[in-house]
């Protein structure tokens, strides 16, 4: 890289393509951040092991494919269930004892992530594995004039929106969702109305982990599967959550905006520099809007 080819001049076709890619990138970040948003928004827990839940989801899919010969699309719900069970166990054994010390959950979940990364490395080895995406058409690219986007990314965009809509429906259209929101607003009050807050937390954590599992199954097809892969998603996912303000709609908007910005910066410079500029921008942004893009006005826990 020399200074001369650092700056890419503007040109309409590739730029529009970059805009479309930005949306799919935002969808990838949203997919990684969805579970995190639910867990943070409901429980105030910063789950540092979320990236590793994604990684476990990817390895679980890899295992289902190689050992069980299960087609990729069928792996998605199975990855959800598998990782949700893992999340439920982690909540039960660890998180549950730390609700009084929120910052310590961050540390404890980092311990979990160390154990998961190294455990997976001991079992599967450090070399990258591959998840086969079926049907085969998904591995092709969509071509329309100057737009050139892999079908898988479009599939992820659609799936992410569907999962976000599903999560919204659960939160706002079911009895379970009413309980979750009640606990979110005032845990003690909800508990005195007969809502089992412990159970709500357990289920929420399991659900958030399950979403990470699905994300892993898709990211496994998008890129390679390796023990450290979680680290590649976790920072962006966290930034989506904090810029959005820690709730579902905030995360949806902020992931779209951040994905777009990243894609535009990458177009003009390169992806690493874009990452740097974006992170610095977010730090400066949070200086002036510490509550994120969409601060929640109603009382929270």
């Amino acid at each position: 890289m020399s200074v001369h080819d650092f700056w890419t001049p503007f040109s309409a076709g590739p730029f529009v393509n970059a805009l479309f890619l930005g949306f799919t990138l935002g969808a990838i970040w949203l997919l990684a951040a969805l579970g995190l948003t639910i867990i943070y928004g409901t429980m105030g827990v910063i789950n540092m092991a979320h990236g590793e839940f994604i990684m476990v989801g990817a390895y679980f899919t890899f295992l289902l494919q190689t050992e069980g010969g299960i087609p990729w699309l069928a792996c998605l719900p199975l990855a959800f269930i598998g990782v949700a069970i893992l999340g439920w166990i982690v909540e039960r054994l660890l998180i549950r004892h730390l609700y009084a010390r929120p910052l310590d959950t961050l540390l404890a979940t980092w311990g979990v992530s160390l154990v998961l990364v190294q455990g997976v490395r001991l079992i599967f080895g450090g070399e990258p594995q591959y998840v086969a995406v079926q049907p085969h058409a998904l591995t092709q690219s969509a071509e329309l004039a100057f737009i050139h986007i892999p079908w898988l990314r479009i599939f992820i965009l659609g799936a992410t929106l569907a999962l976000a809509a599903g999560t919204w429906a659960i939160l706002y259209k079911t009895i379970y969702g009413i309980r979750v929101r009640a606990v979110m607003q005032n845990k003690e009050m909800a508990a005195s109305f007969g809502i089992n807050a412990q159970q709500v937390y357990g289920m929420t954590f399991a659900y958030g982990a399950g979403l990470a599992g699905i994300a892993g199954a898709m990211f496994g097809g998008l890129k390679t599967v390796f023990p450290d892969m979680g680290l590649g998603y976790i920072v962006e996912a966290f930034l989506v959550v904090v810029t959005g303000g820690g709730h579902l709609f905030g995360s949806i908007y902020s992931s779209a905006i951040l994905g777009e910005l990243n894609s535009v910066f990458s177009y003009f410079t390169n992806s690493t520099f874009a990452r740097f500029v974006l992170f610095v921008l977010i730090v400066v942004f949070l200086r002036f809007y510490p509550q994120g893009l969409f601060p929640e006005t109603k009382a929270r826990r």
């Binding site: 404890a108 311990g111 920072v235």
Partner: protein, 368 residues
């Protein structure tokens, strides 16, 4: 600090005595005829201990969970790497070889100041400090707290990591800079395998530790701990919380900066691994295992955990691979069961020793 507790753990005199004994014992290591290679390993443990002290200061005492202590550490290390590299270069051969392979035909202007060792050292101390001051202002003036700080620092750390990785012509990218010669200053060459370097590292460690401890026992230290325990109340009492947080953040950053400089003197090597996320979190783990409210504990934990890691790696490949599993397990257990770490356990045990027949109700008085 009313000195009413009978637990010897909380006795300030006993605490200073413990520190003097610790550094005294550590200072004797080279006199036992330790092999040069082993001595250099101990020298790097001193650097790790400094990083643990840094994490303990910012998180344990300041209540700021920074996962970005690698930022000042790495920036200082890169400045020091550049300084040492330029000591090797001559006016006839001004361009480091990695730049030539990256098709740079003249020394870039950001590298020019490092011709002069004094300027290089000033930059190694100054650049990270300026970054920490600006970053601290941005975060603490916005009254960000808790997990937000953790995420912001993590994001900045990652930003620096990718820059160090990507700016290959300036940083040698993934391979990193390995200056061929030992550091020279004031006509003295600091051999990384010598007991001189070990004593330098240990001396700086002792200096920053005792300096931190002195600071913590002052009124300033009391206010720092007060912002940790209840920032809102301190604000209501009319103090500027942001000021105390920024100072402790920059101070801890300065300790990490010194660690970064000494690391490159010890290892003659700097690479993007200095900015890696896990490394910055290990610093917090060392501080947590030792006891987040104890600098002494942080030092001991950093040394013991790194010693264990090296020893286990020597036994077999299997143990080396299992190490992170063990470390993760230790960390989870400490956070869950021993939130005040080994130092907290030690305090509990010391509580059984009664002095002068006084009541041994152990109220925590002076944090060690």
């Amino acid at each position: 600090m009313n000195g009413q507790s009978s637990n010897i753990y909380n006795d300030p005199k006993a605490q200073w005595f413990a520190y003097i004994v610790l550094f005294g014992v550590l200072a004797l290591i080279p006199t036992f005829g330790t092999e040069p290679f082993q001595l250099r390993v101990f020298s790097s443990y001193a650097v790790y201990a400094m990083l643990a002290v840094s994490a303990s200061m910012v998180w344990g005492f300041g209540g700021i969970l920074s996962l970005g202590q690698g930022i000042p550490y790495g920036l200082a290390a890169y400045c020091m790497g550049a300084t040492m590299q330029m000591q090797f270069q001559t006016p006839d051969d001004p361009i480091p070889s990695f730049m030539l392979t990256n098709e740079l035909n003249e020394l870039p202007s950001v590298w020019q100041p490092f011709w002069n060792t004094s300027v290089g050292l000033i930059l190694a101390l100054g650049v990270p400090t300026v970054v920490m001051v600006v970053f601290g202002f941005l975060m603490f003036q916005a009254r960000l707290a808790g997990a937000f700080i953790a995420i912001m620092t993590l994001a900045m750390l990652n930003a620096f990591y990718s820059m160090a990785q990507d700016l290959q012509p300036f940083t040698a990218g993934f391979n990193g800079i390995s200056p061929p010669n030992a550091f020279k200053a004031f006509g003295v060459e600091v051999d990384p395998y010598s007991s001189m370097l070990y004593w330098i590292n240990l001396g700086v460690l002792a200096l920053v530790t005792l300096g931190s401890k002195y600071m913590l026992q002052s009124k300033f230290g009391t206010l720092v701990r007060a912002t940790r325990d209840d920032a809102e109340r301190v604000r209501f009492l009319g103090y500027s919380v942001a000021y105390y947080q920024i100072v402790v953040f920059v101070f801890a950053g300065l300790i990490a900066t010194l660690a970064g400089i000494l690391w490159v003197m010890t290892q003659q090597y700097v690479s993007p691994t200095a900015f890696e996320t896990p490394f910055s979190i290990y610093m917090v783990i060392w501080a947590a295992v030792g006891g987040r409210h104890s600098l002494f504990g942080a030092i001991v934990a950093a040394i013991v955990l790194n010693y264990l890691q090296t020893e286990l790696a020597d036994i077999s490949d299997m143990w080396q691979k299992a190490w992170l599993l063990i470390l993760g397990g230790i960390f989870i257990a400490v956070v869950l069961l021993l939130p005040r770490g080994l130092a907290g356990m030690f305090e509990y045990l010391m509580g059984f020793i009664k002095i002068g027949g006084r009541n041994s109700s152990s109220t925590r008085v002076s944090e060690n």
